[in-house]
Amino acid sequence: MFIKLFYTLRTYGVPVSTRELLDLNAALDQGLMMQPHPENPELSTFASREDMYRLIRLCMVKDERHFDKFDRAMADYFEGVDSLDMDELLAKLTDIPKEWLDLKLDPKNLTEEQRRLLKKYGSLEELMKALEERLKEQKERHQGGSKWVGTGGTSPFGAYGDHPEGVRVGGESRKRSAAKVWEQRKYRNLDDDNQLGTRQIQMALRNLRQFARTGSADELDIHETIKRTAKKGVLDIHMQAERRNRVKVLMLFDVGGSMDVHVEALEKLFSAAKNEFKTLEFFYFHNCLYDYVWKDNNRRHSAPMPTYELLNTYGREYRVIFVGDASMSPYELMTVGGSVEYMNNEAGIVWLKRVLAHFDKVAWLNPENPAYWNYTQTIVEIKKLFDNKMYPMTLHGVEEMTNYLAR
């Protein structure tokens, strides 16, 4: 029983195993989904949909990170549609004039999601036909019409998949018609594949703390040594890992323009983590690394420091994290004099190579959506240069980055 639900959960990325399925069946066996019949307390009847949701979640999900995926999987299983978002979205589309739709579906200018949809339906005509049919259906079912909640001008298919704006729109409308627990998407903020926001800083901090606590066993553990010596009668030395570790981190931020928003959040994150690391240093550059870096975010007010000095001051055991969107004109990266700010004598890429050669472990944290990385030349180049150690700025990405740096 519930085998199809089990596989649906797995498709959505909720890590369930046979054990959880057996637990769920055992729970049903024990009558946990029954409640006394409202009219006749002697009899039992099935509990409400809410109770069922709760019981399934209790048995199947072991971490709140997966709650959002669970909610989506439940919607899929019980509603039987491919993706919740599509339906919600189309309900809204009844209010949009057709010309607007046509405009957005310019075959030469499709976005990633649109391409995906296109592949699914085969051709643009098929897609439009499917859309029209759905629209007609929706017109009949949702006579009342639902209010269009603006999503900031995203293309109609921008909401397909996990685009947060699109889903939030859907969540509100459903609440008005027939509120289902899993459609409220209460746990979206807890999903670790979302972009890092101020709220999730605590969670990212948790990962960093783990990063900080590993170390090799090279400190004498007096307590343990005494205990074991007493036990054995002969001297038995026991070592332990140093609790506060010796990890030193050097962070290089790309400042200016699009990066400003992210820089503040990350600074907070890493400042909070400062206590966990032996040393944590911040430096700033603009767009690409050249001869100088700055100590202060507001570059104009502080003296630049030559990058060579950086390489000389910090030894190879420092873990280096570059934070930036890695998006610039190829000239800025590849050529002499390509920098937009001053005349650089060596190309940006030369400097990056120097840093990579000097330090043991270097990683790049990129706030850009990883789906679009392949569309910017410089991102592709830098990623290659860094041996694919470029991570997105999500909880999951930070986790993977710290795993790499900690080894």
Binding site: R19, A27, Q30, R54, L58, C59, D63, F67, K227, A230
Partner: protein, 287 residues
């Protein structure tokens, strides 16, 4: 495990503790299927309190094991005091001949050998080393362990109800999670919050509750707070407000917009950065 036993005990919260439906289900499921229950949630939502209330509600003794960062899994089973034995042997004490004299039972031992079914609370399991939960896997599963020094095996006659709390500081290993039921305590909705307040302050004026809750939820919604106020802070704040009539007047003024900062805010915001954020916010609002 009889399923037709109509007098089976189930947890519905106590007089002093409001448990939401999903929490009740979680506790009952854990008890019925005899799996440990892992509880996570924002700080101040009543995780530790839950175990105490479950024990009280079901009339079972409560055994608490507070985990520290230096705690090892073996300490929960037993400790062998080798140093004392070495010392006693040098003093010529007869006690040394019986090794059992130096075995000190840990919390799990107590829970397993308790005469009636008990509630075992393992508090803040994420504080300990990352390997700690893994070291307990076998014991939690089979509810028994082997004492190497004396050669005896301690088995639980009645499986204790195991409640484990975590502050989410570390990730818990998968193998451990599979053996538990997991429940996340959501921050209480407004109506649950009202019931909680009612439990703590039986005769409080409704107007005061409304005003206070209004300000409380507004504060929680401010973006960028390092530590948004939680249930325990709200209860503290109300205690202070009730004791101070002047403060109650100030509360009204704050809501009407005359005073920018709520009175006695120190009970709600424990962080300097948060307080200054609030002041800036209040100044902005005034303009």
């Amino acid at each position: 495990m009889s399923t037709t036993d109509k007098t089976k005990k189930s947890f519905t919260g106590t007089q002093n503790y409001i448990a939401t439906d999903d929490l009740q289900l979680a506790v009952n499921a854990a008890m019925t299927l005899q799996k440990p229950l892992l509880i996570k949630g924002e700080p101040g939502t009543g995780k530790t309190l839950l175990a105490e209330e479950v024990a009280e509600s079901l009339g079972m003794p409560l055994i608490t094991w507070h985990i520290k960062s230096t705690t090892k899994a073996e300490q929960g089973l037993y400790e062998y005091d080798a140093v004392s034995r070495l010392r006693d042997s040098q003093l010529g004490d007869d006690k040394v001949y019986e090794i059992g004299n130096y075995i000190k039972p840990g919390k799990l031992w107590e829970a397993f050998t308790s005469s009636e079914r008990s509630v075992l609370l393992i508090d803040e399991i994420d504080k300990a080393d990352i390997e700690f939960p893994n070291d307990l896997l076998h014991e939690l599963d089979k509810m028994s362990f082997y004492v190497y020094e004396t050669g005896e095996t301690i088995t639980a006659e009645q499986r204790p109800v195991v409640i484990i709390t975590s502050n989410n500081e570390k990730e818990l290993p998968d193998a451990f999670l599979r053996r538990c039921f997991f429940h996340y305590i959501d921050f209480p909705e407004e109506d649950t919050m009202r019931r909680i307040i009612e439990v703590h302050f039986p005769n409080i004026q409704e107007k005061l509750v409304n005003d206070a809750l209004d300000i409380f939820y507004k504060l929680r919604n401010i973006q960028g707070l390092k530590k948004p106020p939680s249930t325990s802070e709200l209860v503290d704040w109300l205690t202070l407000l009730l004791a101070d009539d002047m403060a109650q007047n100030e509360l009204e003024e704050n809501l009407r917009g005359e005073k920018s900062i709520p009175p006695l805010y120190g009970a709600l915001l424990k962080n300097e950065a948060d307080v200054s954020l609030l002041q800036r916010f209040a100044n902005m609002m005034r303009r």
